[in-house]
Amino acid sequence: MRVTDFALRLIAAVTLWSGAAHSFEVEDRQVYTAVAETSVLRVISTADKAVFEPIIAAFQQANPGISVDYTITGTTDLMQAIYEEGAVFDLAISSAMDLQTKLANDGFAQSYSPTNAASLPDWAIWRDQLFAFTQEPAVMVVSNTFFKQGEAPQTRDALIALLRENPDRFRGRIGTYDVRRSGFGYLMATQDSRTSETFWRLMEVMGRLDAQLYCCSGDMIAEVASGKLALAYNVLGSYAASEQAKTEGFHIVELTDFVNVMLRTVLIPANAENVKDARVMVDFLTSLRARPDLADKTGLPPLDASALQNNPALRPIRFGPGLLVFLDQLKENKFLRSWENSILQETP
């Protein structure tokens, strides 16, 4: 197993950089060769290899003829690859719902009706082109050295009050996404701003306390776990949950006023070549709910309509043209200016 894995990596590394150079940035690329290869499925994804490998393994167990060529890139690069550069992939998996929505809206996705479409909730499919297969809340991660279990604030108002009352304790010890660099962070921030005015107050307060900005959830979790940060706001819940199994020193708080829930989505690009296998993969991903073992291994929480019903604070982000609004250049510029004004303040 190890040996073949290593061999595969080697082969992948050789083939990877011999191909045509793309201007979009490829973070990593891995070819999972099938036992009896009959076709290759080219996937472009924003999900880390570690997260997605168990899914690919299970997929290949069910479909031993399909090799998976897995390219990892950022959400913006994925968009650029497909939207502007016409890169050919059979499947695009992204956590940026807004960018995926723009791809589907602007005609870069093709329609398919998954075999299990009837069992999927309405909000999980858009235009028969965009298919959600996970629901991942944005959570707050708090350090055990700053908060005992259950003592962390449960609402944004409480959080604002706590930060205002203890500026010295939290100065430089709060982390959140740099929304200029992270598509997920931008999506969550814009959805926050839509939902409640408390977002801007929170940004003001965090800005005054010299908030630290991060590109990725993993870094924030690590800093919180180490006690360098007291808390990190808007961390991807699924990463936090899977990190918690490995790392001590932090715990997860789902705020009770509202929790934005991001849907990780898959689409078949309009220029896909291996549509047949792409559809098989879409069917596989949309039925992840039937594979709790994979949810455990990957930390990707499958779609669960009942969880949303039982917890009214969970607010799944809705598909639809509304998601195009914050992609508007003027709107984005304005939002980022407001955000910078709030969070980048001169420390007194």
Partner: protein, 457 residues
């Protein structure tokens, strides 16, 4: 051969055609109105979206700027999953949105949105545009906000409406067709009732029809009644004429014959006697012919309206034999009657049957040699068989079928007076009663046997 036209069918097809036209019209109108309403709804939402965007236009440092409201686009996603595009133009320059979105119809007035249908990115899109002027700008203030949406949701609605309207229309058509079938039947019921009333009548019942008729049929009934009245008087005139003619022809001939016989007895010269005898023979021939022609006319006339009266065939045969006994006696011919003692009941026209028997017997007597026997038998099985067998010359090998045709006579009867109508009359009577006439050689080997075969009705 043209099939008779059916009023019912015509009525039904005409009503069904009307129902079809109405159903079709219904489907078209519902479809038209509904799709218009759906299109209107899309236009309204697009206009609302464009207006919402236009409302958030502001000026900043002398330039037009826009903070796109979330609801302006999200409202378009609430009723369907169509693709959405937008474009904001300041003085013809794209400020934001899809710069290649075609906007062929620009709004001219500030308060009226303009709509157009375009092809964009491979799909048909509906575009709504509104015009705004933004104050405090250096570059100019005319801003056109266009919002576009594909129309697949609309197509789906239109499809659904079409399916619903079509099934309702089809249902309506089937219902109307069923009802029109019932209507056609009920409209024709009085006609059927009248037909029944007329059909059930006896053959000689020519009374006016009194069955209740709807207004539309009254002229027909009147015409029918007047026609039957004329028929009645015409028939009675014909009947009168026949009996009158028989009387008028027979009586003078009988007188002439008597006179000739008297004269014959008075004359002594054999050549004179022969001349008179020839005359008598000619008179006989005329008298018989007249009688047979009248019989034939009578039979033809009565056959058209056959009366089925209960009668006793034995009595009928006896009566006919009695009537012809004197004629037979002249030639010393014995009429042997092999009849049952009890009455033989039969439903038929007595006058016609008598005419038939009379002619057969008359024939038999005529062709029988002197001092011979004629046997009249009646046998009943599944049908009645009246046989008259003589010991005469028979049919002389002629085709027996031809003998019953009118005016045809046997090949071996040149010396006997005859018109050739006798067996024709008998045959027609038999046929009128649903029976037949059978000619054969009598069992005794010599002579002819004529059988009148009548089925029980």
């Amino acid at each position: 051969m043209k099939q008779p036209t059916s009023i019912r069918k015509r009525l039904f097809f005409q009503l069904a055609a009307v129902a079809a036209v109405l159903s079709l019209a219904f489907v078209m109108v519902v479809r038209g109105v509904a799709s218009q309403a759906a299109e209107g709804t899309q236009d309204d939402i697009l206009a609302a979206s464009a207006t919402a965007i236009a409302d958030s236009l502001t000026s900043e440092d002398g330039k037009v700027t826009l903070e796109l409201p979330y609801s302006a686009l999200s409202m378009l996603g609430t009723i369907n999953e169509d693709r959405v595009f937008y474009r904001v133009m300041v003085q013809g320059e794209t400020l934001t949105g899809y710069a290649d979105l075609p906007v062929t119809r620009s709004p001219r007035r500030l308060d009226t949105p303009a709509f157009s249908t375009e092809i964009y990115r491979g799909d048909e899109v509906r575009v709504a545009s509104v015009l705004r002027r933004v104050a405090n700008t250096a570059t100019g203030s005319e801003v056109v906000v266009s919002v576009a949406q594909t129309r697949s949701g609309l197509a789906a609605i239109s499809r659904r409406i079409t399916i619903t309207a079509t099934s309702v229309g089809l249902l309506f058509f089937l219902l109307a067709t069923t009802l029109s079938l019932l209507a056609a039947n009920s409209a024709l019921r009085p006609l059927r009732r009248m037909t029944g009333a007329v059909t059930r009548r006896g053959p000689s019942d020519l009374r006016p029809v009194t069955a209740e008729a709807p207004k539309e049929l009254v002229p027909l009934v009147d015409a029918l009644n007047s026609f039957m009245g004329r028929l009645r008087s015409s028939l009675s005139r014909t009947e009168d004429l026949i009996s009158e003619a028989a009387h008028r022809v027979r009586t003078p001939l009988a007188t002439v014959r008597t006179q000739a016989e008297v004269t014959h007895r008075k004359l002594n010269k054999p050549e004179h006697k022969k001349a008179i005898r020839d005359m008598i023979r000619a008179i006989d021939e005329s008298s018989r012919s007249a009688g047979q022609i009248l019989d034939h006319a009578m039979v033809t006339f009565r056959a058209d309206s056959l009366a089925l009266d209960p009668l006793d065939l034995a009595a009928l045969i006896n009566e006919t034999c009695d009537r012809l006994a004197p004629t037979a006696g002249l030639k010393d011919i014995a009429l042997l009657r092999e009849l049952p003692d009890r009455p033989v009941p039969f439903n038929g026209d007595g006058i016609m049957l008598q005419a038939a028997l009379h002619n057969i017997l008359d024939n038999a007597i005529k062709y029988s040699p002197e001092d011979s026997d004629i046997t009249v038998r009646i046998a009943s099985g599944s049908e009645l068989r009246i046989s008259i067998a003589d010991q005469g010359r028979g049919f002389g090998g002629m085709d027996l079928k031809d003998l019953t045709t009118r005016y045809s006579r046997g090949a071996n009867v040149g010396d006997v007076v005859g018109s050739g109508l006798g067996l024709t009359i008998a045959d027609e009577v038999a046929h009128a009663h649903g029976g037949r006439l059978e000619l054969s050689h009598s069992k005794e080997g010599q002579g002819a046997c004529v059988s009148l075969i009548l089925p029980y009705v």
